[in-house]
Amino acid sequence: MSTAVHTPQIDDHVNTDPRAGFTLPVGPLHVALEEPMYFRVSVEGETVKRVDITAGHVHRGMEALALRRNLFQNIVLTERVCSLCSNSHPFTYCMAVENLAGIMVPERARYLRSMAEEIKRIASHLFNVAILAHIIGFKSLFMHVMEVREIMQDIKETVYGNRMDLAANCIGGVKYDVDADLLTFLTRNLDRVQKHVEEIYNIYRNDPMVRGRTVGVGMLPQDKALEYAVVGPVARGSGLAVDIRKDVPHAAYPRLAFDVITENGCDVHSRAMIRLREALESISLVSQCARDLPGGDLVARLPEIPAGEAVARSEAPRGELIYFLRTDGTDVPNRLKWRVPSYMNWDALGVMMHDCKVSDVPLIVNSIDPCISCTER
């Protein structure tokens, strides 16, 4: 049995006449890609005509691993699917166990869960828009956004002890708490971040270099967005008001005030605007959680987990995350399946890249905020 190795080949019919068709391999390792993925891009001159995606370079068999670990160990496992949306995974997984067993999470824990999720969302969205600046060559903007993101990383390290994997969730509640000092630290730094994000938003909204490279690029019309069932900022950037925090109320979201952010441009620029506006919305959500945080327990008393099946969903930074759990009365799952938001959005790249320029390929791929580790598990 061999390892999965894919060596991209240039087609035999390669012709140096730029007017003829040419197949351009992008990846699996490429300077524009953070993770390995192979794109077989068919071009005519500089225009992309077709994209074939070959995935699997980061497949780790995590769903198979989950069947060899107990329900508690899988909290640790699921957090390691990916680091950018690392909180969403154990959060949703724990909700699936709680839905199956009828566990009522205490009120304080629900607020702390929403707080952790929104803190991750701000950092994740800032990372994505920073990479956009990097791809279009706006290096100073890239560095500036990453510097602002460092404030969020400092918040995570101070509150949770880690910059990426927060280890905030457990079955029935949360594993962390905040006191008055931490809340003061949190709100003071969120005020700093908010000022910077508002400035960054205006740059991305109005700067000619940003607009010139992103407006009208990577178009995904609303009807195609529905047909491909895309989720998250990709869907909302095409005018679809899909947000699991509103559609499937969970954690503290029913008690928090926020808008579902949509744009109608259907392009790379719209998706970037969605992420920046959502970052501002998330700052408000964290502030509300800090202000309204009730007292009480951090974790519920756990019953024995019965045999059964349950589904749970959350709105990860990239969109809808869904977990399906089957148990047989033992402490090891019969089946644990998760589908990440990026999984739904890859296929739509074929629409977004049609007739685009080769130089726009990394930009369009980045606009779906892909997480290959999540997709392939």
């Binding site: 999965a4 497949h59 839905n99 499937v248 109320p249 099946e309 089957r326």
Partner: protein, 209 residues
Amino acid sequence: MLTRPAQLQAKALLDQRLPDAAGADISWTEDAHGNLYGWIMLDNAPRLAELAPAMARCRLRLCTMTAYDPERDPANPQRAIAYHFDLDGLTLTVTAPLSMPEVDEDGNAEGKPEVPSITPWFRNADWNEREFMEMYDIAVTGHPNPRRLFLDERLDAGIMGQMIPLSTMMNGASTQDLWERIMSAKLPEGTTAVTASTVTAVTDEETQA
């Protein structure tokens, strides 16, 4: 907590439109926030071809599919597929049990369990079906693009049920037996390869001496 009106309307629509096509009623559960979860258990997989168009007409959005072995008994492998849909925040799970092929006297299956593709009605079923084809060795009839998704073609299908050590997959480590055979092939004739067992035997002799 009260269920959102949109989910209640969705429930009413599905209760009206789906049971006939499914040949089964929808059972309902609710979580702590009043979110609704519908569950349909089909009699057989081919029924999907009747139910899928009815679900598409209801504007259900396919979220994902889960292939699994309900019993996880290696002596008696089974297959089922759970299809998870969304309609205005309501989650519907349709489970299709698959018929397993006959097994010959050598224990080899004559064919693969089969399920019809629902890509004609749900375009985003493409990747989901390709994934369980390779992970659970299920044949999907009518799939428009039946290529491997994540696994290299040289790997066996149905690999989800096997546990392969990472070192073996990376061709980086060897078993004791393989080590001895390699070393024996390299050493001059009559020389014994030094292995843990050889060292232990020598140590025992020294100790006894």
